[in-house]
Symmetry: C2
Subunit: 376 residues, 2 copies
């Protein structure tokens, strides 16, 4: 194997697959990046127990300025190899596999000779089954992930809740995450898609996927296999394992009739919650209290040791019964951030029942739900 | 005490004194910031065992838009108080001390009531003695610190070496730091200053001082007291304790005749050292090797497990005996960074004697010294 190519293009490609590579793996070969060179171009692979990323750089790519002298494969220790590439003196780098998996890396007058690993011992990626597929624009998928993934459980006590539930049915894609204290749900209509699937993707995989999907113009092809899902763009294949087990029925958790409704501009409410949480964070039970009456809405934060805060909130509209309700301000912050700069409606039943946040202008396709904290 | 002022000005002032405040102190009152309000303006004080910073904001300062309603003092928990100020909704903030050291913080509709501490129990700062004083421009002092402080020892086994030695004598200010493996020295001529002093300032204090001296236009007044030094600018007083004991005589360590000399452009040499250290860092003994002969200079890095690197270095000029010498590349990196983008001369005696780095254009006023590593 021998190739010369542009260092910047190669560095970018390396960064993509490195998201999947951990130095804390129990399989030493997985600390490496696999390099496969053919006349068509360079394929890099990185993998850990949960995700695998394959990135392709075409020899036709003008920026890559690639000259393939002979094809072949090698595995190199990823972190160390990337550091070398990053620090080379010239715009181009030449990689050549010598005997015994030794690799010569040359750029200008700098000449590295590093020990590689046998590419035959690198695990094979899953075979792709093109039976169940959908396509989504990258920006839509990224938005979907960022609107839901923060609600997955961080605890392994119920492993299924550490993932986001994706369900395609009746030409609708539903994504739901819940840690049993709060819930995030987004529905995307897919009018031309009559397929059907029901899978749970680990939250951590989705977070990495979202970071890897940088080209917002692109389209993602999503293929679902026995226990894997593949997200494929023009130059990248991103595999994640699926979580096993049945995701709980979340439809029954979402209330549909309410006694108190109030509308807020998100940025102002978020800033007030952040202020109130400064005090709740100093207290043992991290809660803030909202007092809604006909003519005022007041937010309270309190820490017996440190002090207290009180703020008269600006709201757009209020209706229904007066209410005093307490909740974890961190759940509220996460939910509000998912809406961005818009106006939302918060709908309550009572001080002890979950309440919902929805865009004022929405059609029921995006919802956040938070369970309050009982204070007496 | 009651004052209303611009939040941005106040935040900046708070940030300055916070450099001196640690949450890990054994004296609870020192986790606080002391606030003193007079008709002239607002004085903030932060302190820990090593340094104290006092910052003054004049009531005449236009940007501060300060209205003093009544003077007084209070101590508030610093980290928490700064977070509140940072998150307030409006451009202005009002602070009012109520009964029992309670403080009301108001901005727009947000209203905080926090528990303060008795300002009488805050320790007093040292009294300034104006006997021994010099003045330096801020940019010169910052440069001096950044050229030397990295060479102080990180180990408490010889506490005196954790400081930078400052000596004023014969109209010259000398600053030296050494951890006994390498040494950094800067001399500044002070032609109108006939004073004399000999002090050792903790390296950590100087690093914090350098971060606090942001206005490069300003002048620093340096006053030396019994066991303290005060750096004073227009709006800030920065106190540091001094290290006790006698600093070793470093003059005798600096060689004056050499057998091999070579000149390099700093950025190219630094980049090559950084590449070679990628391999030395993977090895147990972190060293790189330099081979100087009449017609080539080659840098080697090696790690038996990972691989090796070899680079033909570009140099400006070489003279004297051929030499093979090994050294810690991290010391070399620190030294080279202190020179910036210039040309330097490295002067060697032999493979086992310390070598020096000096600007090619220098007059002996700036020098870095590194002790090589014996390899046989």
């Amino acid at each position: 194997m021998k190739v010369t190519l542009n260092r910047t293009s190669f560095t970018q490609q390396l960064q993509t697959v490195q998201r999947a590579i951990s130095s804390k793996t129990t399989m030493p070969i997985l600390t490496g990046v696999k390099i496969d060179l053919s006349n068509n171009g360079l394929t890099l692979t990185g993998s850990n127990a949960d995700i695998s990323i394959e990135s392709f750089l075409s020899s036709e790519d003008e920026k890559a300025q690639m000259t393939v002298e002979s094809s072949g494969s090698i595995v190199l220790q990823a972190r160390f190899f990337s550091e070398i590439i990053r620090r080379l003196p010239e715009d181009h780098v030449t990689l050549e596999v010598l005997e015994n998996n030794q690799v010569e890396i040359t750029s200008g007058k700098a000449n590295f000779l590093v020990n590689g690993l046998d590419p035959e011992s690198y695990p094979h990626l899953p075979t792709v089954d093109r039976q169940k597929e959908i396509q989504l624009p990258v920006d839509m998928l990224n938005k979907l992930i960022n609107e839901t993934v923060f609600s997955v459980s961080q605890h392994e006590s119920r492993p299924i809740l550490t993932g986001v539930h994706f369900m395609l049915k009746n030409q609708r894609l539903l994504a739901v995450a819940t840690d049993s204290h709060r819930l995030s749900q987004r529905i995307i209509p897919l009018e031309n898609d009559n397929g059907q699937f029901d899978i749970v993707i680990p939250g951590k995989s989705l977070t990495e996927l979202s970071r890897s999907l940088t080209d917002e113009e692109d389209t993602v092809q999503i293929s679902i296999m026995e226990n894997q899902v593949l997200f494929e763009t023009k130059n990248m294949k991103f595999y994640s394992r699926l979580l096993e087990g049945k995701y709980p029925d979340t439809d029954r958790l979402i209330p549909s009739s309410f006694n108190t409704e109030i509308e807020f501009a998100v940025p102002a409410l978020l800033a007030a919650i952040e202020r109130a949480s400064l005090l709740s964070h100093e207290s043992r039970n991290n809660i803030v209290r909202l007092n809604i009456s006909e003519d005022s809405v007041v937010l309270h934060g309190n820490s017996p040791e440190v002090g207290k805060v009180e703020e008269d909130l600006k709201y757009e509209k209020v209706s229904g019964d007066p209410l005093e309700i307490s909740f974890n301000p961190d759940y509220m912050k996460d939910a509000l951030r998912a809406f961005g700069d818009t106006t939302i409606r918060i709908s309550f039943i009572s001080a002890v029942r979950p309440f919902t946040l929805e865009p004022t202008e929405g059609q029921g396709d995006f919802l956040q739900l938070i369970t309050p904290v009982r204070t007496n």
